[in-house]
């Protein structure tokens, strides 16, 4: 190989100085006398250059970029040879920042996938390839001491969330969880969470149904609605409480809320409403007496109150 590039460092912090040398070997004998080293930089930059003949006869050209302000620069060492430009070697310079600590780490226990799903925010762009890893361990106390390790959770490319499968979880025991960010310039870790997976369970919404009129039941009073609901089947074993919100479908009125409702009821009568008015109703539930997250609001149920 006639010539090769040496870099002071292939990856530096944005704004740092970089030097690159191109060394033309003696064994490049077929060059003859009419040639000189030429650097090509993409994007174009104007480095300081100096050329020197080394004691062993090789010729070295060194360029210095005092403040590298581009995240990627392609360097080509070329020879002006005769009336052609010969590319002898290429190197890519990268510049960026070490990762800042990921933040806003939060986790939810998903009973559909039976996994703990954690998400975070990566922080400002580092301009470099940066990998994120969700790390965790099981603890018998409040996460001061590690009991069992848990395999690292590596998110799919570009994803800011990771899923720890059920087989690595003890649903009712604390685990410490954090995110590590790493690139060529450094490593940083997020603040640590300490949680038991079931205490961050998020349920799917319940299902609302209108109660069909039946001969066995007197018709509802004016300004009342009858409905029933059922919680999400995979969560039947979880003690829950629910809340119902309702608003007239037309007009500007906001939501009214009925809270502390039981998780299941064969029949519920909602009164105190405007007669012969169409209402939109939604419900959500949460694990109760034990910690958990509220589900999303259920799809709407549209019901109309009876006339006066």
């Amino acid at each position: 190989q006639c010539g090769h590039i040496l870099l002071s460092a292939p990856i530096v912090r944005l704004g740092d100085q970089v030097t690159a040398s191109c060394i033309i070997n003696q064994n490049c004998s077929h060059l003859g006398t009419e040639w000189r080293i030429v650097w090509k930089l993409e994007p174009e930059l104007h480095p300081r250059e100096r050329q020197q003949r080394l004691p062993n006869g090789t010729l070295q050209s060194t360029i210095t970029l005092p403040h590298l302000n581009h995240s990627r620069v392609l360097l080509s060492c070329c020879l002006h040879w005769g009336n052609s430009l010969q590319i002898l070697d290429q190197a890519e310079l990268q510049a960026g920042y070490p990762p800042t600590a990921p933040h806003n780490l939060s986790c939810l226990m998903n009973l559909t996938t039976n996994s703990l799903i954690c998400q975070w925010e990566p922080g400002p762009n580092t301009h470099l390839s940066t990998s994120f890893t969700l790390k965790s361990f099981k603890s018998q106390d409040k996460c001061q001491t590690q009991k069992d390790s848990i395999p690292d959770c590596v998110p799919e490319d570009g994803q800011r969330c990771c899923s720890i499968p059920r087989k690595h979880l003890q649903l009712y025991q604390n685990m410490s969880i954090w995110v590590q960010a790493r690139n060529a310039l450094g490593t940083s870790i997020s603040p640590k969470l300490c949680l038991a997976p079931m205490d961050v369970v998020k349920l799917e919404p319940p299902t609302l149904w209108a109660l069909e009129p039946s001969p066995a039941m007197a018709p509802p009073q004016p300004g009342c609605l009858r409905l029933r609901w059922e919680t999400w089947k995979p969560s039947l074993y979880i003690e829950q409480k629910c809340e119902l919100r309702h608003q007239p479908r037309l007009g500007e009125a906001g939501w009214d809320l009925v809270s502390a409702l039981p998780a299941r009821t064969p029949q519920y009568e909602l009164c105190g409403l405007l007669p012969s008015t169409a209402y939109t109703l939604q419900m959500r539930c949460t694990r109760w007496r034990l910690p958990g997250h509220w589900s999303e609001w259920s799809p709407s149920l549209e019901l109309t109150t009876t006339q006066r």
Binding site: N114, R166, L171, Y172, Q173, M198, Y237, I238, E239, L290
Partner: protein
Amino acid sequence: TPLGRARSLPQSFLLKCLEQVRKIQADGAELQERLCAAHKLCHPEELVLLGHSLGIPQAPLSSCSSQSLQLTSCLNQLHSGLFLYQGLLQALAGISPELAPTLDTLQLDVTDFAYNIWLQMEDLGVAPAVQPTQGTTPTFTSAFQRRAGGVLVASKLQSFLELAYRVLRYLAEP
């Protein structure tokens, strides 16, 4: 009185235990439904003879009856029983590809529950010095035996959990 010591059990521990029992019961019921649907093995009473030959034990909870509740012994029996069923479920591995996920979830949940009981016993200072080890578990020599074993283990586990639920609810009463 037995309940005096029970007051040392945190309410959150009891609520979690109750939830775990309900979860395991749901897992167990799913396994039973799938065994019935896929292999027409719906009634454990049809497998009593096979159960004897396989040597599938029933875990005792005699110290947990509300008439003669001895809390430490009851917790110990709860843990030992769960530990026994954890081993029995493990022995059923390879039951069938369709049932494997259900069996895995059931085993994970039983293991979690046993572990919580053990931790609570340690917190109370009543945990045995040495963790129990699995005794000899039945050997299932055919696909049929694993499925029939699955029906029997699930059935015995449900009975065990029914008793456990009763005593836990009794202990959780305000």
